[in-house]
Amino acid sequence: MKIADKSTSAEKLVRDALEKAKKYAEYNIFTFLNEEGALKKAREIDARIKKGEKVGKLAGVPYALKDNFLSPEGETTASAHILEGFVSPITATAVAKLEAEGAIMIGRTNLDAFAHGSSTENSYFGPTLNSRDKKRVAGGSSGGSAVAVALDIVEFATGTDTGGSIRQPASFNGVYGLKPTYGCISRYGVVAMASSTDCIGFFTKTPDDMDLLMSIASGQDPKDMTTLPDYYNATDASLDNSRHAPSRPSTIGRPRPKGRSLRGSGAQSAPVVADGLESSNARVRVGIIKDFDNESVDSDIREALKNKIELLKSKGHEIVELEMPALKYGLAAYYIIVPAEVASNLSRYDGVRYGFRSEKSDDLDSLYYNTRFEGFMPENKRRIMIGNFVLSSGFYDAYFLKAAKARTLIINEYEKAFSKCDFILTPVSPNPAFKLGEKVNDPVAMYLEDVMSVSLNLAGVPGLTIPAGETKDGLAVGLQLVGPRRSDKALIEFSKELA
């Protein structure tokens, strides 16, 4: 590690990151910059290294925290007015694990308020701009985190993915973004959007960084009863025991050649993985979904998918064409189940105990009404309305229960697909980053952007966005690699084949 070998210091890394964060202020990436706290921690780590004390795997690594993770550093607002002023006494499990390894949070990143959105335009603090084109959206909801990594401000950033909130902004900004298997990383201390689909994940510049972060953050947590028993560090990255692609050391905390493009680092790794494959001759079956390859999908994205398919074929992998008809119910089921859970999870924001309270409160009803009326963004309210509608007595069976049944169909559909292939490769969204304001007044068009990402959340399977080139206009294009539940490690490892 470059800190350990004294070629640099944690303080220098943190100062650089903070400086870059300020330089890119116009992108509106951060809701809070942790200048004092981050520098203090960096100095502590430098002092420990100087004394020869043991430091963690992420010692001195600056990172950005999506503003829906609770920690006592800065206000945790979820980019929502109603949480303004809220400083958490609690640290989220995922944050605690990263910090225990010495990672240093330099700032909190912007998101669609309460993670409701696909563009970061629903943030109370205004939209984050796309790293490639400032007239376009960063994607969302984890827009700030994606752009922070894409602009090389930090080595990694945290995200949450309820229906694509990590994978889509990763795709819009050309970085890696993982939504792990549901239950892999504890949700304790993360502002809930939809409990049954929320996943904690990361944005990184390389698959190896992703692997390192997963090995640190994953695992069962007694504070989150939906976490799975530890499996990530016990699973083999390869698909069968005969294949062991050599794992490269992480670039996190390692010196990166100056001036070298981050996106170029993939090329550097390709031969290494190819060597690994050559020695084992493993053929991996990669499924592609026929229905997702049609006219409504942007031609540059289709082209990128075609290129990657050719690349896989050239490496000797098998391409399997899949029919997954149940996925067409994905979007409808998602926009019933998720708003229901959203409406429920947002009930606690009532102005009674913490956060914002409307000044126009003469009695209990007006306190509730005005606090929630002023405190929530229009998209929050839309989802609360939908959610309460589908749960109301007389409509529950027709909407919520039916959506739950569709969800079972989707789970079964993935199980069937993974009996025929090892991974599935699809676009993340039908279009690359759209223009600011383009879809903000058309919620349905906005929801349609999620059509390819939400089914994974309903099924609980992991999905990894990989950078896959550019459009003719220079916008980033990403593809998502999908695996069966608990295949996270193999998924990350295999993504190197596509670099």
Partner: protein
Amino acid sequence: MKYLPTIGIECHVQLCTKTKLFSEVDNDAKDKEPNSCVSPVCYALPGMLPRLNGEAIKMAILAGRAMNCEINAHSRFDRKHYFYPDSPKGYQITQFYEPIIGEGFVELPSGTKVRIEHAHLEGDAGKLTHFDTYSLVDLNRVDTPLIEIVSMPDIHSAKDAHDYCKELWRLMCYAEVTNGDLYNGNMRFDVNISIAAEGAKELGTRAEVKNLNSFRSVERAVEYEIKRQSKLLDAGKKVVQETRGWNDAKGETTGQRSKEEAKDYRYMPEPDLPPINLSAEFIDEESAKLPLMPKDYREAFGGVIAEDILEILLDYPSLMQKLKEIDNKYVKSVSNLFASVLLAEEKSAEYLNDLPSAADLNELSSMNEKKELSSTATKEVFLRLFDPQMKGRGAKNIAKELGLIQENDLGALEKIVDTVLAKPETAKAQEDFKAGQEKVLGFLVGQVMKESHGKANPSAVQDILRKKLS
């Protein structure tokens, strides 16, 4: 017209787990500062998730078994939504669709069987105190584990409603799942009452009286409702389906909320808690821990203790447990001491938690049986067994120290009698008795008792006096 009342009762029981149902914070808020038994989960900070307390599951199994209920191998939680400051999450976590406790029944002392529809686990709400221009919120009670027991409409009188609630209270206390403190709301009753013409096939429209916290108020509220509803029907009017409150001082119910305004709780499966799956072995293992129930004691003591005394003593599980340790031949006398002496004491509540040993009670009874102790002296020694200074020394030693052992040695008694009869002041009385005045015998016995410093057995003294003066 003659009407048949039909009554169903929902009962909330606070479980006496160490920690709350969904987080590891003290569940015993009695005498604690407001908002001092509150975790971030109770407080509903953002990002907090419920964690299920296994002890509550075990207690639910015991509670279910106490009511002869099926325990469901599979159950799960749901969210019940409503906005009120006593509910920080904006919903209560309950079991709406798949409760942990299935069908069963409770048998009342009268023999009436009341079927249990189901019972479920849920978290309690906080408490609001209202003032002129503001209200204060205390969240200490939030997420205290409750089981809500739902009966079938098998009750048809105010008396049975009273007895059912009391029997439930006993069952829960004997199962040791609740502190059973009604005054502090450990058990609360919601009573549904309807009336219909006798012989009618359909039930009448019901009114629900909520939040009753004593058996007496349940009985009175039912009596009041039967009268109120009968009057309405007699006058050709209809009963409105509504929730009513009970005013204990006025002894009447008043309308609160009618069905048209009824809330829609928007139930939804609780996504933060996985379903509960219990193996048959686990259920059996936990069920086997159920302590003896009132019916077991009724069977054991039915022929020994008078029924009315037994029913009184059954209100105190610790007394029944103690009686179970007592020698069979002394059960009756010890139960009498419990009923007539202990329960009459001012400090009885305190005493109940720290009863004398069975060995002491057996010894005391045996001394009484052998006439070594008079009944008065027995009561006195019995009370001394609770005295922190005295207890532990044994009944016999206490009796000796207090000089309460009776003189039963007839030779010794005869000497004392002779001494008394030799005294000039008794001469007249002796004459009178011989002349047929029975009542002076009391005076003479008293003189002998005095001479013996109270240790003489009075009936033996009487016998000797009669013999000597005949």
